[in-house]
């Protein structure tokens, strides 16, 4: 299977090329080069970074709750972050973006913590129950958010965060996403610990891991990643679930080697959705998150019904 990595890299580079080239105007003169620099380059980078961030957030939360069918939008993380963002918009609409992001991340952290308490009580034998529990939990938070937005006439505003799109991304409006890179490095440094988390509390502690601390670190990373993406481009469901699962079926579960591929995979999926959203009804655009929610749902269903990968060592 080793040959697949370069193939995927080439595919990713091709995607980047298309994304840079694709647009309502072609780049021929100096002025167009300026357009290229402030719009297309940032847009492509933003899609890659957002996808990488969400995929990493997904794999971490999967290890923490020991269930590969969850992701930040199925653990109440995204919804609570959105609730936090809505409240900030209501009470302090002029707050700087860093402040908004911090509060959204804190709200997301609180929401994920609540989910964790639920997860500890959900029966292990039926792994498909946990995403349902998470969905209902996220649904309750989302209902509260919608209710507040409805009674304050912010519903259409909420719709803007609900589905991420990249048409508004320009130089100066996405740079926070580069923090995803820093978090990815941090995650890589603790990859072994996160893998051990996935063995469960008892086994992890027996291996000398400070379980509580590691789990808390993982959750902070998940919340910050989710909030970063939410505040800069909007919510993007399914990426955190799909990218790690595809990589896991292909390469197994050892995060040290897989994290870079999961990040690239997530970035590639989001960029591909953005490109498709741009060409589908050219020159109009369909939000990338919506494009992916169609493909993502289909892949999720495939993951549910496909037999578990019996990947041997020989292949």
């Amino acid at each position: 299977m080793r040959f697949q990595t370069p193939v995927l890299l080439v595919a990713l580079l091709a995607l980047v090329g298309i994304s840079l080239w694709l647009g309502a105007a072609s780049v021929t003169s100096w002025q167009d080069a300026w357009l290229f620099g402030v719009s297309r380059l940032p847009r492509t980078a933003a899609a890659l970074l957002a996808g990488a961030g969400l995929a990493l957030a997904g794999v971490v939360v999967q290890q923490v709750v020991q269930n590969r069918l969850v992701e930040p939008s199925l653990t109440g993380t995204t919804e609570s972050a959105m609730l936090g963002l809505l409240l900030v918009t209501l009470w302090a609409p002029g707050m700087a973006i860093a402040g908004k992001m911090t509060l959204a991340a804190l709200a997301g952290l609180a929401g994920t913590g609540g989910f964790l308490m639920l997860a500890q009580r959900a029966p292990r034998q039926d792994p498909m129950l946990l995403p349902i529990v998470g969905l209902i939990y996220a649904g309750i938070i989302w209902a509260a958010t919608t209710w507040i937005a409805w009674s304050t006439d912010l519903l259409q505003y909420l719709g803007v965060w609900r589905l991420a799109e990249f048409s508004g991304v320009m130089q100066g409006r996405y740079e926070w996403l580069w923090a995803v890179g820093a978090l990815a490095l941090l995650l890589y440094a603790v990859a072994d610990r996160i893998t051990i988390l996935g063995l469960g509390r008892e086994q992890a502690r027996s291996l000398g891991l400070n379980y509580g601390q590691t789990r808390a670190l993982g959750l902070v990373i998940v919340s910050v990643l989710s909030a970063l993406v939410l505040v800069t481009v909007g919510a993007f469901p399914f990426v955190g679930l799909i990218a790690p699962n595809l990589v896991s079926r292909w390469r197994g579960d050892n995060l040290r080697g897989n994290l870079p591929i999961i990040a690239l995979g997530g970035g590639g999926l989001v960029l591909a959705s953005d490109v498709i959203g741009r060409v589908l009804r050219y020159p109009f655009e369909i939000p990338a998150a919506l494009v992916f929610s169609v493909f993502g749902a289909v892949i999720f269903l495939w993951l549910l019904f496909a037999a578990p990968a019996r990947s041997g060592g020989q292949s």
């Binding site: 939990y137 719709g159 939000p287």
Partner: protein, 314 residues
């Protein structure tokens, strides 16, 4: 003991209904009575339907945390509403005959439910959680599609769609009540007739089969009933996710039994009681129109979390 508790529940519902009809009755008496009467009928129909549907669903899923409302019905309903507004425009949708809309929505919801349950259960009825999760994901897909359509609407039309996103008990006409009520009554009768089989089905697929029950067939019948009950009540008033969970859990709590010939009527009575009592309090005592659905959903959601939390950590 079970019998007396059921009678008590029934008596409570009758008293509440009387209070609902007669409280501070003013002139013109006949008109107000018929108005209140049709509203009462809707509340009882929807309460009973969601309560029973949830009991049935929980039994075949062997899980008392679940409610059929999470399986994307609400998403399909909102998509249908949105689609109608998008195709006909806000004014056109308002002029569309309500009975035709009701029948069309019911038919589509039932078709979708049967397709989902029937198609997936061919793989074997042991796999109910997977079916539910599939429905949930399809619901997410529908919600995404709905949002794209909504984005293309102008603000006035958007406001109309927005109304449909929350359940409301005050926009139903008499023929709809008769049709919906009829379907619900038939479904309840079939459910009661199947009650002994349900008792066995609740033991799980392999046990039930070794006891000689045609488990897959019973599950299919039951899910058909669930589809009918949920579609009719959704088409009547709009999406209600957690009301059923509330009434089913209370029914199990009050009766402390697994016998479905008792649980089914109890869940129906409790579901109806919650809605009638809630509407009575909100409309007559607090003079507030729209809050009931939201309050019921909120408490239902909290109950769900409580039910999960009550379990021991694994």
């Amino acid at each position: 003991m079970i019998r007396s508790r059921l009678l008590l529940l029934a008596a409570g519902l009758v008293l509440l209904s009387a209070a609902f009809l007669l409280w501070k009755l003013q002139e013109p008496t006949g008109f107000i009575l018929s108005l209140r009467g049709s509203k009462l009928a809707v509340l009882i129909c929807v309460g009973a339907a969601t309560g029973v549907a949830t009991i049935l669903f929980q039994t075949v899923a062997m899980n008392q945390l679940l409610t059929p409302g999470i399986v994307g019905f609400d998403a399909l309903f909102v998509l249908l509403q949105t689609g109608l507004v998008a195709i006909l425009g806000g004014v056109g949708a308002a002029l569309f005959p309500p009975m035709a809309q009701f029948l069309m929505e019911t038919a589509l919801l039932m078709g979708a439910a049967l397709l989902l349950f029937g198609g997936l259960l061919r793989r074997g009825a042991g796999d109910v959680t997977r079916v539910i999760l599939t429905g949930v994901i399809l619901g997410m897909l529908l919600r995404g599609l709905t949002e794209v359509v909504q984005r293309m609407l102008d603000p006035a039309d958007f406001a109309i769609v927005q109304q449909a996103m929350f359940a409301s008990f005050s926009r139903v006409s008499t023929p709809q009540i008769w049709t919906g009520g009829g379907v619900i009554a038939v479904a309840l009768a079939v459910a009661l007739w199947q009650a002994p089989a349900l008792d066995v089905a609740g033991l799980g697929r392999s046990t039930a089969r070794s006891l000689g029950l045609a488990h897959d067939r019973v599950v299919l019948i039951v899910l058909g009933l669930v589809a009918a009950l949920v579609s009719v009540s959704t088409a009547l008033v709009g999406p209600l996710t957690f009301l059923g969970l509330l009434s089913a859990s209370l029914a199990r709590q009050v009766l402390q039994t697994h016998r479905h010939d008792a649980l089914i009527p109890a869940a129906a009575l409790i579901g109806a009681t919650i809605l009638v009592a809630g509407q009575f309090v909100f409309e007559r005592l607090l003079a507030s129109q729209s809050a009931l659905a939201v309050i019921v959903e909120f408490f239902g959601g909290l109950l769900f979390l409580f039910l999960v939390f009550r379990r021991k950590p694994s």
